[in-house]
Chain length 334, copies 6
C-alpha cells in the first residue's frame, strides 16, 4: 500500500500510518483531563497530534525517537493542520523503511556515485588516484559518504546531499579547470572530494539530522584532515612510493582553507590557486542550490517574493508580477 | 457620521464600520466547527476579529486587501482587544475614504508643499531652479511626492512623510548653510530635494506600505539617479543652455552617497562638502524625529523608559522619576 | 514553617504561601467572564497564576511589585505548571523576609567580606591601604557592596554576587601576581576592588534586579570614578600626605579600561600591566563562572549538551555520552 | 627598429628611446647645482632617471604626461636601476605608438571580441539578443569596451582587461549554466556582459590608468544602469515590441548587486539565482586570475612564497620546497 | 621686524630667526665628520635643518623643545626645502611670543568668547544658567578653554579650536532647536558647552599639541564628568536650591554619550533627544569643517581631487575639471 | 674571548667577529664603483654593513644565511650605526655557537623543563599521565619543544619561548584551578601542554625565526591535533586500556578552540569549562608578558610612554612623570 506522507495530508483525511515521533508531552486541559501532545514526522515534514483522554500509562509506553503506528483524523486548527488520534502503538525500527523518515536527494544515488568514481579514476596523478582508491575501497566510508547530508539545515540537508554536492562540484571543476591552464586540475578535483569528507563523522543522520559530539567539538575541517591522514598511510602500498610531502600539504591546505575566511571557520586563508578556486566553487554551488530550492519550494503563489530566509538574511525574487509586500527588511530604509 | 477608529475602541463597544482586511483564515475549533479569523485595520492600528460559525462560502466572498463593512462587539481577550463579528460584507474601494486607512502626517500637506516650492524657487543657480521647475511641473510626480511615506517602518512612515522629512531638511539646510560660507547652498538644497526622490517608486503606498519590486531589486538610490536623468534632459528647453556637466555629477553624487557608508547602502562615500552635510543633516532629522516620537507615543506612564526600539537597539529615557526596570539590555553587563 | 518555593512545586500541590507579584492582568474569557492572570515569583523562579471569576475590585487591591498571600492548586498546563488561585491578599513588605524573593549567593556573605577585608588590610602601599579603609569605614557603602549583584542577568546575578565575584578575583590576583614580579600587586588588588564598585549605584536590587536611571544613562564605569574621587579626598586625613597623583591616575585607568575594548564599553584601552591583567582575570572569572553554572544547572539529563546560551552564542558540552541533537547552530555549516 | 622596453634594461645599457614621463622634479644637490629627477615609463614598467646640471628652462620644456625622447645610460644604484640622461626632448603623441606605453592583454583582442559576439548572438531570448545588438552596433562603445582595463590596479589592470575578464566569465557561465537547469542562461550571460559595462566610463585609460571624476563620484554600478537605460530605449525599434519590464528589472538588479554585499559597494544584495551566480563567478575569475598571475610573475626564485599581496592580505604558496621565511603575517600568532 | 615664517621660505632665502626645535640628532657623514640634523618649527610648519661640522658640545647646548635663534640659508634638496645653518643659539622662552609657534584660529578669540557668553546667559533654566556662570567665573578655566585646540590632529587642531568648535555648535543648536519644539533647547546648549570641556585637561598645548597622561589614560569624556561634578557643587550657592538630580543626570549623559557609539569611545549610547541631536550636530560641524579645510588648503592646483585623507579614508572632490588620477583607493575595484 | 654582540657596539669601535648574514646586495655608487651592502645579525640585533670596492667574485663567495668572519669599524650614519668592513670570510656553521645568533629565554631551560616534567607527572588521571609520558619519552620532540619560540614576533619570540610560556601557564593553571573545584584540573593542565604543541612544526628556528611551509599552510592548531593523534596511539601500551574516547575529544577540543574565536583562527568556540579557562589564561600570560617586556625594554627614558606597539595598537604607560607626547593615536579624537 502506498504510504500517506505528511505533506499530502488535507483537512478531514482519515489516516492509518507509521510516523517518527520527535516530541511528546502529557498535558492537562482546563478541566483537568489529561491529553497527549505529540510531534509526528516523516521525510516530507512534521505535524502536531493530540490524543484526548490519554493517561500516564500510554505516555510511558514509548519515547521520543520511536516509531508509532497511529489512527486518527486530520483537522485544520489555528491555520495549521493537526491530527486527532484515536489510537497509537509503538512499532520497532526493524519493521519500517528508514528512507521514509528522512528527506533524501531526488537524484539516483548509485548514478551519483558512478560519476564520483569516474571522476576519481580519471585523475592523472598516480598518487592522487591511489589515494582516491583507498577511500573508495573502504566500504564503510563509501556507505556513509553516500548517505550523509551536506548539512543539518542550510544546504543539501537531506540523505545523499553530501554526495550530490560533491559530484556537482566535481562536474563544475571539470568544466571550469580547462579555462585556467595553470590550475592543477587533479589537485582541484581531489580537493573537491576531500573538502567536506569530515562531514560523515561530523553529522548524525540515522533518525534525524544533528551534529555528533565530535562534529560539534572538533568540526569537519579537522576531522577531514584526520581522515586524510588515515588513508594516505595506505597509499604507498598501492604505488610503491612514498606519498609526496608537498602534495599532502596542498591537500590538507585545501581542506583547512575551504571556508575562505577565519570568521567562517577556516583556520587558514586559501593560499594556492586550487584552494581559492575550491572555495569559490563551493560557495557558488551552495548558494545557487539554496536560491533555486527556495524559489521552487516557496508555497505562496500570490507573492512575487519568497519567505524571508534567515540564513541568507533576505527574501528572493520569484517574479511574475505583483508588488512586494510590506514585511521586507527595515534595514533598507535610510 | 464620525468614523470609529481602531485606536478608540474599548471593551464592550458595539461597532458598525468599514475596515481594511489584511489577513483572513478559515479555522476549525475543537468541535470541528468552522470560524473566520481576520485582521482588520485602519490608519490608527489593527485589531483581530473572529466570526463564529462561518463557512467556506463567506470565506471566499472577499480577499485580503478588501474593505469590509462589519458589525460586531469589542471584547478583551488574553490581554488584548478583539472583535466578535455578527456580520461582514465586502464594499468597493470607491465608497471609502482611503485616507482613513493609512496613517498620514499631522501637518498640512498643502502648506508643506508651499514651503518646498518656496525653497526651490529661491535657488539662485538658474540651472538648478529650472531643474526644480521640471520636477514641479510634473503633476503625477508632485502627487506621488506629496503622498509617499519616507519609509515602510522606521521613520516618517506615514502618507506625506517623505514631503515632511524633505521640507524639514530644507528648513535645516537653510538655517545651517549660512554658518559655512564655503558650502554651496543651492547644491545642498537641491541635494535635499533629490536624495530620497526615488522613494516615490521604491515604495508602494496605496492600501498598505510596502516595497515595490523595483524598490526591492534596485532601490531608491539608483531610481533617484534615473529620475534625475529623465528630468535633466528637459532643462535646456527652459534655460536655453546645456545643463553643466559638473553640476549634474555633483547632484548624482549627492543622491548616491547620502547614506554615508557602503554598509548602509551608498555605493560611494560622500566626497564633497555638500554631500557630507546632506548625510549628517539627514541623519540628524531622522534620528531626532524617531527619538521625539518614541517618547511622545510611549504608552506606559509608569516607567521612565520607553519600550525597547529594535531599530535603535536601545530604550529611550523619558524621565520623570522611577527606576529603570530589569528588562534592559544584557549587553551592558561586563 | 518551611517555605514552599516555586522550584519545589509539582502538579497537584496545594499551596498557601506569600509570593512577589511581578505582573498582573485582568482578562475576559470567551464567555465574557473576567479572570486575573498573574506572575508570582520568589528567589527560586516564577510561575503564572490564574484566578477565575475575579473582578475589577480585587484587581485594583494590589500592584505589581506587591507581596501576595495566596491559596491555590498547582496544575500542569501546556507543558508548564500554573497555579489556580482560590484567594489572594496583599501583605506588607515588613512581614516578609526579602531574602526569600531574590536569588542570593550560596556562599556566606560575612566570610566573603572577611576575605575582602583581609586582602585590603594586607596592601603594602599606605595610600592604597588608607583608601581601602575609607571605603570600608562607610557602612552604607559596605552594606550595598555586600548586597549588590554583579549583573542583572549574565553572571553572578544574585544578591552578594558582586562581593563573591570581587573576592574570587582578589584570590586569583593574589595567586597570579607572584608569577609576574614586575606587576604592582597592590595596584592590581585595588583595581580588582574598584573595577565594578560603580555597580552598587548602577543596579537596583531591592525587589528585582534592574538598572537604575543613573546606571542606564551613565554606567558603572563613570560612576566608579565618581565614587573613587569622593573617597580619595578623605585619604590625606588618614595618611597626613596628599594622595599621589600618578597612583590616582592609574586607579582611574584601571576602572575606565577594565572592559578591555571600546566596543565593550571601556572608553580607553588598557595601557598598564595591571590594567591588562585585571581585564583578563575579570574575563576569566566571569566566563568560567558562567560555564560551570550552566553545566551544573542544566536540567536536561538526556543530552550531552546544555541549552543554547544566548549571551555566549553557543551550547556547552556536558559530556557523558550521546549524540548532540539537531538544534545546533546553523552557523557551523559551510 | 625594435623598441627597448624598461623591463629589458640592464646595468650599463646605453639607451635611445621614447618614454612617457609620469613625474618630474627640479632639485639641488648639496653643492647647490640643479638636476632633474624624472620617472620614465612604458607598458613594461617604470625607471627613475636623473639629468645632472639641468636648468629651469629645460624643466619647463615639458610636463608630466608628455613623451620624451631620451639618450642616456642605465646604472645600478641602491639596489635598483636608474638612468643617467645626457639629453631629453619632448615628442608629440602623434609620433608614438600608444600601445607601447600601457600594459595590454596578452590575448588577441579581435579573437576575444569574436567570442563575445558569438556568445551574444547565441542568446535565445529575442529581447536580450536585440539589446546585445544595440550595444554592439555602437562603434564608440565597442572600441572603448575592447580597450578598457577591468581595474586600475587589482585585477585585469591592462588594456583589453575588461574584455578578457568578461569573455572568460561568459565561457564560465556557458559551461556552468547547464548544471543548473532552473537557472536562466540568457539572463546570466547578459548579466555577465553588463555587470562591469560602466567601467568604460568609470576608468580613464588613455596614457595611464585612473578613475574619471564620474567614476570616482558615481561608480561603475550606477553608470552601468545608465548605459543600460540608454540602450534599452532602442530595442523596441529592432523587436517591434516593448522591452519586458520584469526582464529590465532583473538586468538592472544583476548590475546593482554583483559586488555581493553592501560593504563591497552593491546597494542591493543578490536576490535572484542569476544574480548570486554572477557574483560568485565574477569572484572566482577575479581571484583565480590574481592567484595565478602573482605566482607566475613572482621574481624571487629562492622562496616557495610570493611577496605579500596587500589586496589579498596574504602571501601565496608557489611550492617547490624550502622554508617559508620569517616575514609572514604576525596575525598568525596566538 | 616682521617674523619670517616657515611657510614663507623659498629656495635661496637667507634667514635669521627664532624657531622651536622639535628634534635633534648628531650624525656622521661618510667621511666621519659630524653634523647636526634638526627639525625647526613655528606655527606655519616645520623644516629640517643641518649644520655641518658641528660637535658634541654644541649638540648638548640645547634640548628638543628649546627655542633656537639660527642663521642660515634655505635650499631645495630632494624635492623639499631644508636649511643649512651657519650658527645657532638657545634663547629662553621669555623672549619669544609663544603665539608664533603654535597654529591658532583665524577668528577673533574675544569675539568667539563673547558669543559663548551671550549664548550661556540666554539660558532660560536658572540652574543651567547658574552652572554656566560657575564655569565662566573660573578665570583659569576660561583661559584654558579659550586656548585649547579641539584635537591634536584631526579637526580644529589649533589654539582656540575648541572654543571655535563649541561656539559654532552653539550657533547651530540655536538655529536648529526651534525646528523641534519638543527638544529641550537649554539642555542641548549646555550639552554643547560641556561635551568637550574635558579637553582642556586631556590635551597639552603649551609648545606642541599632545595628550596629557591624564588625557591618554582617562580621556576627556570622564574628565568632563569630573569637571561638571566640581562646578555643580557650587551652583546651590547661587540659586539657593539644590541642583535638580535629573538635570544633572541628563548633563552627564550628554557628555558620556556624545561620541554616539561604543566603538568611538562613548561608554553609553545616546538615549535622550538632546543627546542624539548633540551627537549628530557635533559630527556635522567636525566633518564639514574638515571637508572645507582640506579643499581650501589643498596645494595641488592641477588636480580636481585633494590628497588622500587618512582619517577620512578618501580623497575629496574639488572640481574644476580634469581626470581623477590613478592613485585612488584600490578598494573601489570589484 | 668574549663575543662582541651587536647591541654592545658604539661609534668608533673596531670589530673582529663572526655574524650571521641575512641580506646581501652588490651595488654601484654614483661613480660606478661597486660595493657590498650586507645585513649582519646575532641574537642581540642587526646592523647594516658596507664593504667598498668589492667585486662580483667576493659577492658570490657566500650566501645570505651564511656565517661571516668580518673585520671592520663601527660608524654613526644617518642616526644609526653601520659597519665599514675591511675584510670578510665565510665560516662553516660547525665552528660557531648557534646560541649566539638567535635570542633565547633568560631562564634556565633545564629548570623550566624540570617544572614541566613535575607538573605532568603529578597528573592524577592515569591516561593523561601516560599520554604525557609518551610525549616526554620522545627525545626529538623534547629537544624541539625546549628550543622552539612561542612565536615569530609577537610574544615569547626567542629560543625556549614556547617552553617558558607553557610552564608559566602550568604554574598559573595550578594556582587557579583550586578556586574552581568543578574544573577538571588534569584536563586543564594537559590542555596547557598541548595547546601550542604544534608550534614545534609550525615554526622554523634554526638560523632565524620563520614559518615552515606546513606551518603557514596548515597551522599549529591542526598540526597539534595530528601530533596528539600520533602519541595517543601509544598510550594503551602503557596503560593496558583503550584511551577514553571522550577524554580524547576534550583534548582535541582544547587545542582546536584555544584562540577563543573564529576570527583568531580557532575553527571552534570553547565549549567546555577547561577550554574557556585555557583560552583566558593563555591570553593573560601572553598579554602581561608583552606589556611588561615593552615597558622594560623601552629605550626612551625621557617619555612616560613606550613606542607605539603595532600588534597592540597602542602605547603603554611607563609613568614617572612628564606629558604624553603628540604622536598618540588620532583615533582618540572626536
Amino acid at each position: 500500500m502506498v504510504r500517506r506522507y505528511v505533506r499530502q495530508m488535507a483537512d478531514g483525511d482519515v489516516v492509518e500510518e507509521v510516523y517518527l515521533t520527535t516530541d511528546k508531552q502529557l498535558r492537562a486541559n482546563r478541566n483537568g483531563n489529561l491529553y497527549l501532545q505529540l510531534e509526528l514526522r516523516d521525510r516530507t515534514g512534521a505535524i502536531s497530534a493530540r490524543m484526548w483522554n490519554a493517561g500516564e500509562h500510554l505516555f510511558k509506553s514509548f519515547d521520543a525517537g520511536d516509531f508509532l503506528f497511529v489512527k486518527g483524523k486530520v483537522q485544520l486548527f489555528q491555520g495549521a493542520l493537526q491530527m486527532i488520534l484515536n489510537s497509537l502503538e509503538r512499532v520497532g525500527a526493524e519493521g519500517v523503511d528508514l528512507a521514509d523518515f528522512l528527506p533524501h536527494t531526488e537524484q539516483d544515488v548509485s548514478k551519483l556515485y558512478e560519476r564520483l568514481r569516474t571522476h576519481m579514476m580519471r585523475l592523472a596523478n598516480p598518487h592522487l588516484r591511489a589515494l582516491a582508491e583507498c577511500f573508495l575501497m573502504d566500504a564503510d566510508f563509501v556507505r556513509a559518504f553516500c548517505r550523509a547530508p551536506a548539512g543539518v539545515r542550510v544546504h543539501h540537508a537531506y540523505l545523499g546531499g553530501l554526495l550530490e554536492h560533491v559530484v556537482t562540484l566535481m562536474d563544475l571543476a571539470d568544466r571550469v579547470a580547462p579555462l585556467y591552464p595553470d590550475l592543477d586540475r587533479d589537485l582541484l578535483l581531489m580537493g573537491v572530494f576531500l573538502h567536506d569528507v569530515g562531514k560523515v563523522r561530523e553529522l548524525g543522520y540515522d533518525r534525524a539530522f544533528s551534529y555528533t559530539d565530535e562534529g560539534q567539538l572538533i568540526g569537519h575541517v579537522v576531522i577531514g584532515v584526520e581522515m586524510l591522514n588515515e588513508k594516505v598511510r595506505q597509499v604507498p602500498d598501492l604505488t610503491g612510493e612514498p606519498f609526496p610531502v608537498e602534495i599532502l600539504l596542498r591537500l590538507k591546505h585545501l581542506i583547512v582553507s575551504h571556508h575562505g575566511t577565519l570568521e567562517h571557520g577556516s583556520p587558514k586563508l586559501p593560499m594556492t590557486p586550487e584552494a581559492i578556486a575550491l572555495h569559490h566553487l563551493d560557495n557558488l554551488d551552495a548558494k545557487v542550490h539554496i536560491f533555486l530550492r527556495d524559489i521552487r519550494e516557496d508555497g505562496n503563489k500570490s507573492s512575487a517574493w519568497t519567505q524571508f530566509n534567515q540564513a541568507l538574511q533576505r527574501r528572493l525574487f520569484k517574479g511574475g508580477g505583483g508588488e512586494a509586500d510590506g514585511s521586507l527588511l527595515a534595514g533598507d530604509e535610510a
